[in-house]
């Protein structure tokens, strides 16, 4: 870049202010005077190539750093117990299947202490009551985005703490109910999230152990009154007392996931167990959801798979791996 600037300044203009305007003004009068269009094209192409080569020479691999996006795609299967008093006062138990993809990346590769994180989760579940006389199926979509502050208290232990803003949309269906056959779940929350990571470095591979916890701090949630039908809410537009401010006084939840990331031949596998619990109360109804299950997936940095044999150069900084 230094050479390029000096070439522009050779025409007597001021290169620091408007370099590209100067470039045009330098050469265009010359082209008009000679009327040699072929020569001008060659000259411009040569100049462009020279710029390119000069810029490459100025960037050695060690001086420029790149922030990688660490992506984890995982599938989970859980046993779940739900209680939705709008549909039924009884507890329903069953299984849920889900898919999660999350992304983490340092905000700046030069200052690897602040990372952005986003996660998309979709889940579906099927449950039945204890007497096995009725079913509730549910579908859930969740998107989270937030930031983590990274600290390294000792050795290979890394801690992260941050806030995640999430939006949760779901529907529970109990088809044999009359006028209340479904219950919408809608909430948006600011969550506190903490992650502890420990890296075990062996001769052949680096194994990552991770414990992640998350709890909602404040937000907004949709809960209809127990006796109000969705006809009244949606068709007549009676939203009174359906949206509630939520915080620790009426919404408590904790998601805990312990995972181990194991690089094998070409893929870094992601195995985990999770236990999530949620309680929220509004309009004299207490909703509960307890979920425990297993997680299986794989993880990679965006530019290529981070298998054992394909490690990134040192100037590619990953928020997820050493």
């Amino acid at each position: 870049m230094k050479h390029a600037c000096s070439a522009i300044s050779a025409c007597g203009k001021q290169p620091d202010k408007k370099p590209f305007v100067h470039l045009t003004e330098c050469f265009m009068p010359q082209l008009r005077n000679t009327h040699t269009t072929l020569m001008s094209k060659i000259l411009l192409l040569g100049l462009a190539f020279w710029f390119f080569v000069a810029s490459l020479c100025a960037q050695t691999p060690d001086s420029v750093k790149w922030a990688l996006t660490t992506t984890t795609k995982s599938y989970n299967m859980s046993s779940v117990i739900i209680n939705d008093p709008y549909l039924s006062p009884l507890k329903y138990s069953g299984i849920t299947l889900g898919y999660t993809t999350d992304f983490q990346r340092f905000l700046s590769p030069y200052k690897p202490d602040l990372s952005t994180y986003s996660r998309f989760n979709v889940a579906l579940g099927a449950t039945t009551n204890e007497a096995a006389t009725a079913n509730i199926t549910f579908y859930d979509l969740n998107y989270s985005w937030g930031m983590y502050y990274h600290i390294k208290p000792l050795g290979r232990l890394y801690l992260m703490a941050g806030g995640l803003l999430d939006t949760d949309m779901g529907i529970k269906i109990k088809s044999d109910n009359v006028n209340n056959p479904y219950s919408f779940d809608f909430s948006t929350n600011l969550n506190f999230s903490g992650i502890a990571r420990y890296y075990i470095i062996t001769r052949k591979r680096t194994i990552r152990l991770q414990l992640a916890v998350q709890t909602p701090v404040m937000g907004c949630m949709f809960v209809p009154r127990n006796g109000e039908s969705y006809y009244e809410i949606l068709q007549l537009g009676n939203y009174d007392n359906t949206f509630h401010f939520s915080s620790f006084h009426n919404r408590l939840g904790l998601t805990r996931t312990f995972s181990i990331d194991l690089p094998l031949r070409f893929t870094t596998w992601h195995f985990g167990i999770s236990y999530n619990t949620l309680r929220y109360k509004a309009n004299d109804m207490v909703y509960t959801k307890d979920e425990s299950g297993i997680v299986i997936g794989y993880t990679y940095d965006f530019y290529k798979f981070s298998g054992r044999k394909h490690k990134a150069p040192k100037n590619f900084i990953s928020a997820g791996y050493l």
């Binding site: 801690l159 009359v178 408590l252």
Partner: protein, 335 residues
């Protein structure tokens, strides 16, 4: 130090779970199920005050009988009898072997309808048309259009109604027969009424329970019937009987104030409370009224709507192949 703060924060969050009580659960015993059902109705049923029902005394009467029941059938019957104290056609208990119901709201009255009679050549005949669940035919020598709509769960569209009205374009009046229509979707009741209003009109109000108390209700919310782009602006008669219930009852309450509409037949069966469902531990589902509806003058419609012209079926007419209520409607519309 940071690690310590982190652990303290997580511990605090976990301890906060004690702030929200777990939902109350009843034991899956006869006594537990009885208490669960009694409590669901006590806190959520909407007509205790209006019907002047002492629900506590119902508990006193029925609870001692619980210990005497020895099987599910007997217990189901006992629970059904307890629910029948509410005298509400919208209250049912559903088990996997039976459905309890209160039917006196129409079995104690004349039926005022014969499905075979309306299929006589004088009325629908054999060649009637069907559109969106509506059976229709031109009667009275081409002067009157006749529609029989027997279920507000049957979907119909503006296109269906447009075709029907087009078919009746030379008729000077219309009969909509909703006898033996036990209800269905409230939105269809509103939609059907909309063809007979020339402007948007508040036709009903609805409210819902807001707490456990028998008098805890929300402010009434107006239900506006929007005038449809397809209009029938000639006289219309709505035929009713006691089996015109629930959403049909709501339809009739709307038509009661529709211009050029007249209600003929028997008082409707009522069912003014929108029902919701719940469950008891044994797995039986219970349906009950939770949202009372009112007419445009804020009067309850739970016990039914009086017709403008009260007519009962005549046995002699019936034996001669005449439907007294349709004949009365024809004579009024012909005037």
């Amino acid at each position: 130090m940071n690690k310590l703060k982190f652990i303290i924060l997580i511990t605090c969050c976990s301890s906060l779970f004690s702030c929200i009580d777990e939902p109350k659960e009843y034991a899956n015993t006869y006594q537990g199920n009885f208490d669960a059902l009694w409590n669901i109705m006590d806190t959520r049923y909407c007509y205790f005050d209006y019907k002047k029902i002492d629900w506590d005394s119902v508990y006193t009467v029925y609870q001692p009988k619980v210990t005497k029941t020895s099987n599910d059938e007997d217990f189901f019957e006992l629970m059904g009898n307890m629910l029948n104290e509410l005298k509400d056609g919208h209250v049912n208990l559903y088990s996997n072997f039976d459905i309890s119901r209160y039917w006196k709201w129409y079995t104690d009255y004349p039926s005022n309808f014969s499905s075979s009679l309306i299929k006589k050549d004088r009325y629908l005949g054999d060649n009637y048309r069907i559109a969106g669940g509506m059976k229709y035919q031109i009667i009275d020598n081409g002067k009157i259009g006749y529609i029989y709509y027997g279920d507000f769960s049957n979907t119909f569209t503006n296109d269906n109604v447009k075709f029907i009205f087009e078919y009746f374009k030379n008729c000077k009046a219309l009969i909509i027969d909703v006898r033996d229509n036990g209800g269905g979707y409230l939105s269809y009741a509103d939609m059907l009424a909309g063809y007979f209003f020339t402007k948007n009109t508040i036709t009903n109000y609805i409210c819902h329970k807001t707490g456990d108390g028998h008098s805890d209700f929300s402010q009434p919310k107006a239900i506006t019937t929007n005038a449809s782009g397809i209009q029938w602006q000639r006289p219309v008669a709505v035929l009713t009987n006691r089996m015109s219930f629930s959403a049909t009852n709501a339809f009739v309450s709307k038509m009661k104030i529709a211009p050029k509409a007249i209600i003929i037949g028997d008082k409707t069966g009522g069912g003014g409370g929108m029902p919701l469902s719940s469950e008891i531990p044994i797995g039986w589902m219970v349906r009950f009224s939770t949202s009372p509806m009112f007419d445009s003058g804020m009067k309850q419609i739970e016990w039914g709507i009086d017709p403008d012209v009260k007519v009962d079926m005549d046995i002699t007419d019936e034996s001669n192949g005449y439907d007294t209520i349709i004949e009365k409607a024809i004579s009024i519309l012909d005037e």
